[in-house]
């Protein structure tokens, strides 16, 4: 990639301004610095421009300009991502979609909505809530993250267990392709003809283009909801309870684990009602028809007690339920109470391996002299070990990265995967060979080339960067080659 001279930069800024408007382009160094990372601060990179389009045509024109200039570009939503997926890894243009946040249409009869990518996930449920509907995928950051970002990462959430992930709720997309062409993938019905390109696009982490209109399903709110908190004195018993519930043929809407350290953080934050002396707690939710729910609830409580729960408690009111969920969904941020930074891992494992993997996680992190908090989607075996560290202490970032790589390896070894829902991004690109063969990766690369032949659309993500891949994971912030040459600077 060519480095832009100051005068070229000024010219390009003017061109971008003619597309999106003068108050919709950032190029001041201090403003760009604020965009150096997403929710994972371990990775940092600077763009040349951040632009704020308000229409599909804007996005297309910006993409065409970037192609003409051979400038890399990347779409960004709220920047709550946890794998560095929206970072401008090689400079260029960040296309912020935060000003494209409208609900364009709601068709209640056909249970769908057409939205723009910058819409905050929860705001869609707020919009359709008064008519008795909601949008099911509920990442823990749903109060801030955008539907566009959810599309990129095929995001899940606690209720993934019963309702599936984002791809199960997307019917169609209008996409600005990496060359600036505007196409529709999928449609407005459940069974679109031809290749399922909407399915291919969801989860492509912004490397296949930029979605500018999204058709999503909205669901009728369940008739009844029951939420149980099961409290354990040993985390192994909580793990056993997870398997016991599923083994009895019960499918809760959500089944979340929250460990001792995490309980301290969320209780400090919002007094949610988790017992501070517990070693672990399971937050289990049932939803559906009111008929038969009491019976299911009893069987879940029984399974937890049989596995060794010291206490089970059913939320008595909607406010008590909301508070328990607030604690769960704020857990990552609440680590700020106990540590100045954290790195969240996102491994998936077979549920039965929970006790083994959790103990390995603890051993690995302890061996690196660090602490870990666990809060995760236990029902579908999607782990989130959060490694706590202090970026001001020399050497800690490197130790975090090393511990993270070891944890990912354990997940892969037990037959799991290196990402459940946070994406591969920059963070885990070098872990891909843990689970994919060279042939697998080549096929993926060919698919990427079909969508994104120039590679300008979100470069540097997903695919491993190193020739020999398995020995080390990615490293924390590295100065870019152009910085090393003194051609660009970091403020």
């Amino acid at each position: 990639m060519a480095t832009l001279t100051d005068s070229r930069k000024r010219e390009l800024r003017r061109e971008l301004e003619t597309i999106v408007g003068p108050d919709a382009v950032l190029s001041d160094p201090d403003e760009l610095l604020v965009y150096e990372s997403d929710g994972l601060t371990l990775f940092r990179a600077l763009a040349d421009f951040v632009v704020f389009p308000t229409s599909t045509e804007h996005v297309s024109a910006v993409v065409k300009l970037a192609n003409r200039e051979r400038l890399p570009f990347v779409a960004r939503g709220a920047g709550t991502g946890l794998s560095g997926g929206c970072l401008p890894a090689e400079g260029g243009v960040v296309i912020s979609l935060m000003r494209m946040n409208r609900v364009l249409e709601v068709d209640y009869d056909n249970q769908l909505a057409v939205v723009e990518p910058g819409l905050v996930n929860l705001h869609l449920s707020w919009k359709v809530g008064p008519r008795g509907y909601y949008y099911a995928p509920d990442p823990s950051s749903q109060q801030a993250c955008t539907i566009g970002g959810n599309i990129a990462n095929n995001s899940g959430g606690p209720h993934t267990l019963k309702y599936g992930v984002t791809t199960n709720h997307v019917l169609g997309l209008q996409v600005v392709m990496p060359d600036g062409e505007i196409v529709w993938l999928g449609g407005r019905t459940r069974d679109a003809q031809g290749y399922d390109l909407a399915g291919v696009f969801v989860g492509s982490e912004g490397t296949f283009g930029i979605a500018t209109k999204i058709v999503v399903r909205i669901l009728k709110k369940p008739q009844a909801v029951k939420t149980v908190l099961a409290v354990f004195d040993q985390i192994d018993r909580a793990s056993a309870a997870v398997s016991a519930v599923i083994a009895r043929g019960l499918v809760p809407a959500a089944m979340e684990m929250i460990d001792h350290l995490t309980i301290q953080a969320v209780e400090d934050a919002f007094n949610c009602g988790y017992p501070r002396d517990a070693d672990a707690a399971l937050l289990i939710e049932l939803d559906g028809l009111a008929v038969g729910m009491e019976g299911q609830l009893e069987r879940i409580v029984e399974a937890c007690r049989d596995a060794g729960a010291r206490e089970t408690r059913t939320a008595k009111s909607e406010s008590e339920r909301q508070l328990l969920w607030k604690g769960r969904k704020s857990a990552f941020g609440a680590y700020g109470r106990v540590s100045p930074a954290y790195m969240v891992m996102d491994g998936v494992i077979p549920r039965t391996k929970l006790p083994y993997v959790l103990s390995r996680v603890n051993e690995i992190v302890a061996a690196h002299g660090l602490r870990v908090g666990n809060v995760f989607h236990a029902g579908d075996g999607n782990l989130h070990p959060n490694i706590l560290y202090d970026p001001r202490k020399p050497g800690e970032e490197e130790r975090v990265v090393a511990a993270g790589a070891e944890i990912m390896k354990v997940c892969a070894e037990v037959g799991g995967s290196i990402s459940g829902e946070h994406g591969i991004g920059l963070e885990k690109s070098d872990f891909m060979p843990f689970i994919f063969s060279a042939a697998d990766l080549t096929l993926m690369q060919r698919l990427k080339n079909a969508f994104n032949p120039t590679g300008l659309c979100n470069p540097g993500k997903i695919f491993p960067t190193k020739k020999s891949c398995v020995e080390v994971g990615p490293v924390a912030y590295r100065p870019h080659a152009i910085e090393e040459k003194g051609l660009a600077q970091r403020f």
Partner: protein
């Protein structure tokens, strides 16, 4: 270009600070972004620099020396309303209000502006807010200006446009000052009606006393009806909240000390405040004066006695008899009540006790109306956007009145509704309570 620096996050020695004021709280932010969608300026602009997370990052970068205070940085920080909505949703407990106040002090230190601006700040923060007598005199002057026809003349003739700087905006928002009788303070002492519940001291405020003297007198009556001996300490002046929010740290400290002195003299059980910004600020005196050996302990004790009016009254059922107030109301949460003091259910519980009154919820009731101290004067464009948003929600509810608990919000929302020729009134909570007690003058 200077030499490139490869340091990503330099490790600074000791506590992070901006010219001596600690901003170490920035390290609590783990960059999760859960605050973003609750920030009014981020919602309007979508730019990370104008979000809580972005501002915390900016303040951190300033303290670490990664950024310098350029005009652009100062603008983004100054665009913050200091509404503290982000604090309410922050799981990490970042003390955002303190951080932004420290940043504003730093902006004033580095960019005090040209002479007219400095003079104007001195006139307001130094002279008027610090000296109640001068403020009263200025109010009398403003009253004369407004009633003599001079104001109409100035506005109609276009003379107002000749005023320098932001003065035209100030002129436009100059609250209409009521007559001298209306500005009468409450009696020095009002004795409890019925069994005594507490001995309380009232903050009468600076601008509040001049513009909304009636609210202060109503507050004294309502407190007395609820079993309080109500004292109005002599020698109380401005609490210093406006100074602190405006980056005038040194005077804010002096005003806090002076307020503590005045209230300690009457030794009341509680200090009752009916202005949101003052209440939140006075509750933070302990932090503000933590480094002052003569006042640290006293400030902490004092702060522990401060209560917002609704917070205090809602601890017990309202004492009867209450007369019906037949109307449909909606409630707007002033930022420094709901976010600064985490008081949300109390005013609603009080209103629910009034016979005949129907309360409908206001969408985004806890969003800033754009008043935000003197924000509507310093950032008129963003203030107007937020006001439109607020007024739109108010009109959606079809309420006859908006109830709130802060003079700034009242003036701002009144102005917004006025621009829509809306008949909806804006009332202080205490006016409704006073009416239910058959009060009024």
């Amino acid at each position: 270009m200077s030499t490139p620096t490869h340091t990503s996050a330099p490790a600074p020695a000791g506590v992070l600070n901006l010219h001596g004021l600690s901003v170490d709280g920035v390290n609590q932010c783990v960059h999760c972004g859960l605050c973003l969608a609750y920030c009014p300026t981020f919602s309007e602009l979508g730019t990370e620099m104008d979000s809580p997370r972005g501002r915390i990052f900016t303040i951190k970068s300033l303290a670490e020396g990664r950024m310098s205070l350029t005009d652009s940085v100062a603008q983004h920080l100054s665009l913050c309303l200091d509404c503290r909505a982000c604090e309410t949703v922050c799981p990490a407990g970042v003390p955002y209000g303190r951080l932004i106040e420290a940043a504003k002090v730093e902006i004033e230190r580095q960019q005090p502006g040209a002479l007219p601006r400095r003079l104007f700040r001195w006139l307001n923060f130094g002279l008027l807010l610090g000296h109640p007598r001068l403020l009263r005199l200025a109010a009398a002057g403003a009253r004369l200006y407004q009633t003599s026809g001079l104001q109409q003349l100035v506005r109609r003739s276009g003379l107002v446009k000749l005023l320098p700087g932001t003065l035209p905006a100030w002129e436009a928002l100059l609250p209409s000052v009521p007559s001298k009788a209306e500005r009468t303070p409450p009696p020095r002492t009002t004795l409890a009606d019925g069994p005594r519940r507490a001995r309380v001291a009232m903050l009468t405020g600076c601008i509040q006393a001049v513009v909304f003297g009636a609210h202060n007198r109503a507050t004294a009556r309502v407190l007395a009806r609820n079993g309080c001996d109500v004292l109005v300490p002599e020698g109380q002046r401005c609490c210093g909240a406006l100074n602190a929010h405006g980056g005038d740290h040194a005077r804010a400290l002096a005003m806090a000390r002076q307020t503590i002195d005045a209230f300690e003299a009457v030794a009341a059980d509680f200090v009752i405040v009916n202005v949101s910004g003052c209440g939140a600020h006075m509750k933070a005196y302990g932090h503000l004066l933590a480094d002052d050996p003569a006042y640290a302990e006293r400030a902490k004790r004092f702060a522990a006695t401060v209560r917002d009016l609704a917070e205090f009254l809602a601890q017990e059922p309202l004492r009867g008899p209450l007369q019906p107030v037949t109307m449909t109301c909606t409630y707007h949460d002033p930022c420094h009540v709901v976010h600064g003091q985490k008081i949300k259910s109390e005013p609603r519980r009080l209103l629910a006790q009034i016979p005949g009154l129907r309360l409908v919820e206001l969408p985004e009731s806890d969003w800033c109306c754009g008043s935000a101290g003197i924000y509507n004067l310093t950032q008129p464009e963003m203030a107007t956007r937020l006001l439109h948003r607020k007024v739109g929600h108010v009109l959606e509810t079809s309420a006859e009145a908006v109830v709130t608990a802060n003079p700034g919000c009242i003036l701002q929302i009144q102005a917004g509704l006025g621009a829509h020729q809306s008949p909806v009134r804006v009332l202080h909570l205490v006016e409704i309570l006073d009416r239910a007690y058959g009060g009024g003058e």
